[in-house]
């Protein structure tokens, strides 16, 4: 092998090696960090795994928001008008969070079937509807106000 070819070989090996590590890391990281979305109906059917990071979303049920008077703990319910899931959260809610609004939360299901949220996702626009929630509502056949289509 000429020195020039040897150099080329080293370079090519470096690139292939780097790319292989990158692919392996990507696959690993991706498999660890995918958050599947579940609608209230899927959660009620027991499809959502317990203790795994997932997303859940639906319309915030009117009158369901309860605050703890001495901390930032808050409890509310989300619904797709077929099933309802209780969500617990501690912290500050986004500005556009209100009853009757479609929201998506990130967190885990606990043993009692309560969704322990670590993040409630904020949106820019009060007319905005998270596509996941819209999709879940389309499947149940209700519109955003809860009227049967």
């Amino acid at each position: 092998m000429t020195p020039k070819r040897k150099q080329r070989l080293i370079l090519v090996l470096f690139v292939v090696f780097g790319a292989a590590i990158a692919v392996a890391l990507t696959v690993y990281a991706l498999s660890q960090n995918i958050n599947l979305f579940f609608s209230p109906q899927q959660i009620a059917n027991g499809e959502a795994p317990v203790g795994t990071r997932i997303r859940a979303g639906g319309m915030v049920v009117d009158g369901s928001v309860k605050r703890d008077p001495n901390s930032l703990k808050i409890e509310f319910a989300i619904t797709d008008y077929l099933q309802t899931v209780i969500v617990n959260y501690e912290g500050i809610l986004p500005d556009l969070f209100r009853e009757g609004q479609g929201i998506v939360a990130q967190g885990e299901m606990d043993q009692n079937g309560v969704f322990q949220a670590v993040e409630v996702l904020a949106k820019h626009d009060e007319k905005y509807m998270p596509p996941e929630v819209q999709d879940a509502l389309d499947k149940t056949g209700y519109d955003q106000e809860g009227n049967k289509q």
Binding site: Q7, I34, G91, H124, E126, P130, D135
Partner: protein, 651 residues
């Protein structure tokens, strides 16, 4: 009347773009100087009509013409006039118009600055830019014209600009970001022109480099401003979310950074030619992909204003034509473009190649993480999202690797370097960097978190290399300072840009590791301590602004028991849209930011309050500013001043 004038101008601009795409291109392939001579006047008139068009829209906003649907949806008569004008790009339609206007601006700049360029190259470059123009102007006209009227039920009052966008950040962030995005179309057009003519020489790279650097500089500052804006305006102190829209601007930046480096090799050494062309194509394709992701509504993102499948499809087709067409051309013609020389393993070329490989790897990972949920959803696999841990897990090690190689690459010479000389320079700086980096990390925080310490060590490693290199440049000069001042602007740009990377890296590492944050319920009189700061909540009062009312909190901050600041975070209510907005109060410092924001009112005069201590926050953006400055500086290098005479060819 004025909005119709805007619409007509847009149509005329479309016609100009169509002529520009065809006539000079035909001229270049037939060798007809007459046809090619149409390129410049067409480019200039395209710009003129776009200027009229965007001016008409601005006029409609300034005069509160709510019969224009877009104005009615994004403005309000109570809005201050500067927000009325920036509302031009506050929604989908107007920001597309801005996109096209900026494209026409770049076309105009190329047309008036191309005197030294061979006529056929100039004709082809402008024609390719004309094609891009046709694509996007027709997109604006067909799917999203901002001049559409509401003549029947003309509203008396506008729906107001989204309060989040009523901010200095929105006035400047989108135009700068678009300057970057769209600016890469120039590099793309040069690449296509080179492929069509089969000529890629030193003159070509000298032509392409300043344009690419300039676009890169704009994109850098656009992303930096976006991060800064998200930090204070989204209200919660986050500055990078790995949100798909952020990724959409970050991917062209990564690819563009690779392109800027590869172009340097192509210019100085006549190497990596076909690779440079490919990077130029990819960079612009990623810019288009970014536009598609943001504008099609396929994303769950803070930026998705409105979902419209028709628009998404249109950009997807544009994207497919651009990527497919240019890659096909590349496959057929890239073979004609040959590299001219060789290099040894230990040379600057090799290290730039490593830089390129790592950047492309990072970019691919971001691309996979961004597109994966979309692809799975399109295939019917259900809704999902890829969280920030994915991106951090991959991005952090690879960018640290990049910093390590950066420290070596800066010191290497073109073609070949002596390993012994290199070791002699690098070994002391290696050990010194470890010692200084660890001590600095220890002085800052006794914890010595691994990643933050490693980042500091690598930061010093790069800084030492920069210093060593500057001194080796003047080692044979009698007066070192005079020697340093005589180094070329592009050399200083190299120094400043890499220093910028280091500054950002230090900022990111420290703020990500040592930030402290509390969300807490506070009644007036409560005191909370965070790092060396203590915060006393003194209650909230009602105030009113021009188009909003607000609760304004008062928080007195002590640092090490000395008075530090009185801070006034606000919770605003905008009645026009019925929306709430958090206005955080931030005390910015060179070494730390103190951040307070009001959550929501609770019973008994209590408020939910967010308190944050963010060390070295400013460094993240200051590094971006340095990089932008460096990118702009290269444009002023003497060797890019193209004269009519033949260019001297130097290695």
């Amino acid at each position: 009347m004025i909005p119709e004038l805007g619409q007509y101008s847009l149509i005329l601009a479309m016609i100009m773009a169509a002529f520009l795409a065809v006539i000079p291109m035909v001229g270049a392939s037939k060798g007809s100087l007459f046809l090619m001579s149409f390129a410049k006047p067409l480019a200039k008139s395209l710009f003129l009509f776009m200027l009229i068009s965007i001016f008409c829209l601005a006029y409609a906003f300034a005069t509160d013409d709510f019969s224009v649907k877009y104005v009615a949806g994004n403005s309000n008569s109570a809005l201050p006039v500067y927000y009325k004008l920036s509302a031009v790009w506050g929604g989908h339609e107007g920001s597309l118009l801005l996109w096209v206007f900026i494209l026409s601006g770049w076309i105009f700049a190329v047309a008036i600055k191309s005197d030294g360029l061979p006529t056929d190259i100039m004709a082809r470059v402008l024609a390719v830019l004309g094609m891009v123009g046709v694509g996007f102007i027709s997109f604006t006209l067909i799917t999203s014209s901002p001049f559409e009227r509401l003549l029947v039920n003309t509203p008396l009052e506008g729906a107001d600009l989204n309060p989040l966008l009523q901010d200095i950040g929105l006035i400047i962030h989108p135009p700068l970001l678009y300057m970057g995005y769209v600016g890469f179309s120039v590099a793309f057009a040069f690449a296509i022109a080179a492929l069509l003519s089969g000529k890629l020489d030193v003159a070509w790279s000298r032509w392409t480099r300043p344009w690419t650097n300039l676009a890169w500089a704009f994109l850098t500052i656009g992303i930096t401003l976006g991060s800064w804006w998200a930090y204070y305006e989204l209200g919660w102190g986050g500055w990078w979310f790995w949100d798909p829209v952020e990724n959409a601007s970050f991917m062209p930046w990564l690819m563009g950074t690779a392109l800027v480096h590869s172009l340097a090799v192509t210019e100085k050494r006549g190497l990596f030619k076909s690779w440079t062309l490919l990077l130029a194509i990819f960079t612009f394709s990623l810019s288009l992909l970014g536009t598609f992701l943001v504008r099609s509504g396929v994303l769950t993102s803070v930026h998705s204003f409105a979902a419209d499948p028709e628009r998404g499809l249109f950009i997807l087709v544009l994207l497919a034509i651009t990527v497919g067409g240019s890659l096909l051309l590349y496959a057929i013609k890239a073979y004609d473009v040959k590299s001219e020389s060789n290099f040894e393993l230990l040379s600057r070329e090799t290290l730039i190649l490593i830089n390129n490989v790592v950047l492309v790897i990072i970019c691919s990972m971001v691309l996979i993480g961004t597109l994966y949920p979309l692809i799975i959803d399109a295939l019917g696999g259900g809704k999902m999202s890829v969280g920030p841990p994915y991106f951090n897990l991959l991005f952090v090690p690879f960018s640290l690797l990049l910093a390590f190689f950066m420290g070596i690459g800066i010191l290497l010479r073109w073609k070949k370097s002596s390993p012994r000389k290199l070791l002699k320079q690098l070994l002391p700086s290696f050990f010194l960097a470890i010692a200084v980096g660890i001590s600095a990390a220890y002085l800052f925080n006794q914890e010595l978190a691994f990643k933050a310490t490693l980042a500091l060590v690598l930061a010093f490693w790069v800084v030492f290399s920069l210093i060593l290199d500057a001194f080796s440049k003047v080692s044979n000069k009698a007066d070192k300072l005079v020697g340093l001042s005589k180094l070329s602007p592009s050399y200083w740009a190299m120094q400043i840009a890499h220093l910028g990377v280091v500054v950002t890296m230090v900022g990111v590492a420290l703020v990500a590791t040592y930030s402290e944050e509390r969300d807490i319920r506070m009644v007036p009189g409560d005191i909370v301590t965070l790092a060396e700061y203590s915060f006393e909540f003194q209650g909230a009062e009602k105030i009113s602004g021009p188009n909003y009312s607000a609760d304004m909190g008062t928080i007195e901050v002590l640092k090490n028991n000395q008075f530090f600041a009185t801070m006034h975070p606000e919770k605003r209510f905008y009645p026009a849209r019925g929306s709430m907005m958090t206005e955080a109060d931030i005390n910015a410092g060179l070494f730390a930011d103190v951040f307070v924001a009001l959550g929501e009112p609770l019973a008994d005069g209590a408020w939910a309050v967010r308190l944050q201590y963010k060390p070295f926050m400013r460094w993240v953006w200051f590094g971006g500013v340095l990089m932008m400055f460096a990118g702009m500086l290269t444009v002023f290098d003497r060797r890019y001043k193209i004269r009519k005479s033949a260019l001297p060819v130097t290695a």
